[in-house]
Every structure is written in structure tokens, then in C-alpha cells.
């Protein structure tokens, strides 16, 4: 369907935008997690992960999702490489 839409060069309808935004809004509303707490958890997660590995801050995506009746915190944190000296596996890529 997406491909057809693109093929015919039709603009994305405002309804589709509404659905996408509403989906995210309802996931947050239903979780009962205040935005401040989510923000704090994100920062703490990033701090913990970057203690051990070097991460690409621009590519970080941590968000709530809802599927199969469960709310999940899904974190996508791109790893650039192991941090010097803290890698558990000696053979892992070292920075530089």
C-alpha cells in the first residue's frame, strides 16, 4: 500500500499523520509514566551504557512502544566501539 501511494505521488494524508501521532500519545498516556521520569530513565540508561562502550549519540532512540497488550521500553543505542580498557572481551574492537 505504501509503495502504491508513493508510486502515485499522493501526499501523505493528514489522517495518517494523526494516526501515527495518536498511537504514540496513547502509548505514553496508558503507561502512566510521566515525561520527566522517562527522560531521566533515558539519561541514566545512556550514562550506564556509555560507561562501557562508546555510543553514537545522534542515533539514540529510546521510546515506549505498545504491542501484544504490553508496554515496552525499547532502546536503540548504536555502539561505535568498546571503550578503551573496559572491554570484557580482549579481542573486541578498540577505539582508534
Amino acid at each position: 500500500m505504501e509503495i502504491l501511494t508513493r508510486l502515485f505521488g499522493r501526499r501523505r494524508s493528514s489522517k495518517e499523520m494523526a494516526k501515527e501521532r495518536l498511537r504514540l500519545i496513547l502509548v505514553h498516556d496508558r503507561s502512566g509514566i510521566p515525561p520527566e521520569l522517562l527522560h531521566r530513565m533515558k539519561n541514566e540508561l545512556i550514562t550506564v551504557i556509555s560507561k562501557h562502550v562508546r555510543i553514537d549519540h545522534r542515533g539514540i532512540n529510546i521510546n515506549l512502544e505498545h504491542s501484544d497488550g504490553l508496554t515496552r521500553l525499547v532502546a536503540d543505542i548504536p555502539i561505535v566501539g568498546a571503550r578503551h580498557g573496559t572491554s570484557e572481551r580482549p579481542g573486541a574492537t578498540r577505539g582508534r
Partner: protein, 272 residues
């Protein structure tokens, strides 16, 4: 057997709760039902205006609660339609003037002598909402196909379930078929998918609603308008009948075929 107490609520204001309450009360009374409508929006009384009964108010719900009059004295009979009564809200007090228990008792008393008691709830999720759902056997949630209204409806559905009154049934108000067709409005299926709740009815947008309020004569008094039919269909569903939804609002998910058809139709009518 006592009648059914139905609370009509929404969370967000301005989605048409009062209009829906007035029209369902009329539509049910036209089916020879005895109906009492209660306005619980204390301080912002309006159901009387939409029903065209504002000139007949002597006592209101706060007077009943405070013992200034009997319940029967505060009830306004609709002279146009036998079996239809209104218990108006007070315009001078606030939501704390009555308690959920008091509304529940009044609802029960009215249910003893009526087939249906319709409670028009105020907007919001605070005291007024608690008042309105306390005595309910069933809750009807009104939303429009707008994001803000659907979001509020989702919140209120959660609160209704928490109050043990769930899951409730949904009325989608002010659907604009043209906008749905253009892809600029959520359709019935979209809203139901988000809210995961049973559908009670779909009501088309119609500017005649404003004219009807100007005249104090709810559109459910008419027969032929699509919006009037939508209200009558809901009344029949509340009576337990299996009435199909009006076909125009049953926008099925677009198939590739209909999408292609529309594409070629657009092409024929030239670039825009």
C-alpha cells in the same frame, strides 16, 4: 423491573454530550419509552436549553438534594412528547453541591418509574465526572474523530473501567464523510481500533444541530435527516435491537482496487 441508568460522558468538552443526551432522550421517548434526563453539569446548566425546556424550570437538582422540594416537583415534563422528563442542573452552585451518592439515589428513584434515565455528565475527570457515573448501569462515551477528543476518550475509558462501570460503549459524533473520504479525518474503524471498545453509534456532522438548538427542538423529533436516523438507530440499539450502522459511515479499509479507481478518477478530472 427498574429502568436502565445510562451516563453520557466524554472527558473533553465540546464533543456534543448534551446534544447527544437530548436527542437520545427524545428518540427513546418516541419509541414509547419513559425517559428521565438528568443534567449533572452543575453551574453550567445547558441540557434544558438544548431540549427547549428552559422556561419551565422552577426547582433544580440541588434543590432536590437539599430537601427544598420533592424530586417530582423539580421534574419538567416535555409537553411535546409524553414520557419525557428533565431534571435540570443548578446554574448557581458548583460540582461539590451534590455527592456521587446523592446522584445515585436520585437515579435509582427515577429508574423506578422510567425505562431509561440518561445522565448528562460535565466535561472533565474530576468531581463532576464521579458524580455522573456513580449511579450508572452503563456508560456511553462520546467522542469526535479528532485527535484531542480520542485521546480524552481513551483516558475516560480507563477511569470508567477503574470505577467498575466499564467497558462502556462509544458514540462517534460529527463524522464528516467528505473529510473521511479525502483522508483528512479518522474514520469509524480508526477510532474503534484506537479505543478498543464497542461501537454504539456514528453521528454525521450537520449544521442543522445549531438551528435545532436555536429553536429548542432536538433533531431526533424529525424522521428523514441522516442525523435524525442516526439518533433513532442508537435508541433502537439501546433497546437491544441489532441495527446495522449507516452504510455511508462504514468506510472499509481502502482496498487496492478502490484506491486505483479513485486514482484514475482523479486523473480524469485533470491535475489539481
Amino acid at each position: 423491573m427498574p429502568g436502565t441508568v445510562i451516563t453520557i460522558t466524554s472527558g473533553k468538552g465540546g464533543v456534543g454530550k448534551t446534544t447527544v443526551t437530548a436527542n437520545l432522550a427524545v428518540a427513546l421517548a418516541l419509541q414509547s419509552q419513559h425517559v428521565a434526563a438528568i443534567d449533572t453539569d452543575i453551574g453550567l446548566r445547558n441540557l434544558d436549553v438544548v431540549m427547549g425546556l428552559e422556561d419551565h424550570i422552577i426547582y433544580d437538582i440541588v434543590d432536590v438534594v437539599r430537601g427544598h422540594c420533592h424530586l417530582s416537583q423539580a421534574l419538567i415534563r416535555d409537553k411535546r412528547l409524553s414520557g419525557l422528563q428533565l431534571l435540570p442542573a443548578s446554574q448557581t452552585h458548583d460540582k461539590s453541591a451534590v455527592t456521587p451518592q446523592e446522584i445515585a439515589i436520585i437515579s435509582q428513584e427515577l429508574a423506578a418509574n422510567n425505562d431509561f434515565v440518561l445522565i448528562d455528565s460535565p466535561a472533565g475527570i474530576e468531581m463532576g465526572f464521579q458524580n455522573a457515573v456513580a449511579g450508572a448501569d452503563e456508560v456511553v462515551i462520546v467522542t469526535t474523530p479528532e485527535m484531542s477528543a480520542v485521546r480524552s476518550a481513551d483516558r475516560i475509558i480507563g477511569l470508567i473501567e477503574a470505577a467498575g462501570k466499564g467497558p462502556g460503549r462509544l458514540i462517534i459524533n460529527r463524522i464528516n464523510p467528505g473529510m473521511v473520504r479525502r483522508g483528512d479525518m479518522l474514520n469509524t474503524f480508526d477510532v474503534i481500533e484506537f479505543l478498543a471498545i464497542d461501537l454504539l453509534g456514528v453521528i454525521p456532522e450537520d449544521e442543522a444541530v445549531i438551528v435545532a438548538t436555536n429553536q429548542g427542538r432536538p433533531l431526533a423529533f424529525e424522521q428523514s435527516r441522516p442525523i435524525s436516523r442516526a439518533f433513532h438507530n442508537i435508541a433502537h440499539r439501546l433497546l437491544g435491537e441489532d441495527i446495522p450502522f449507516l452504510p455511508i459511515f462504514e468506510e472499509p479499509a481502502e482496498t487496492i482496487l478502490t484506491r486505483l479507481q479513485r486514482f484514475f478518477r482523479l486523473r480524469q478530472s485533470g491535475p489539481r
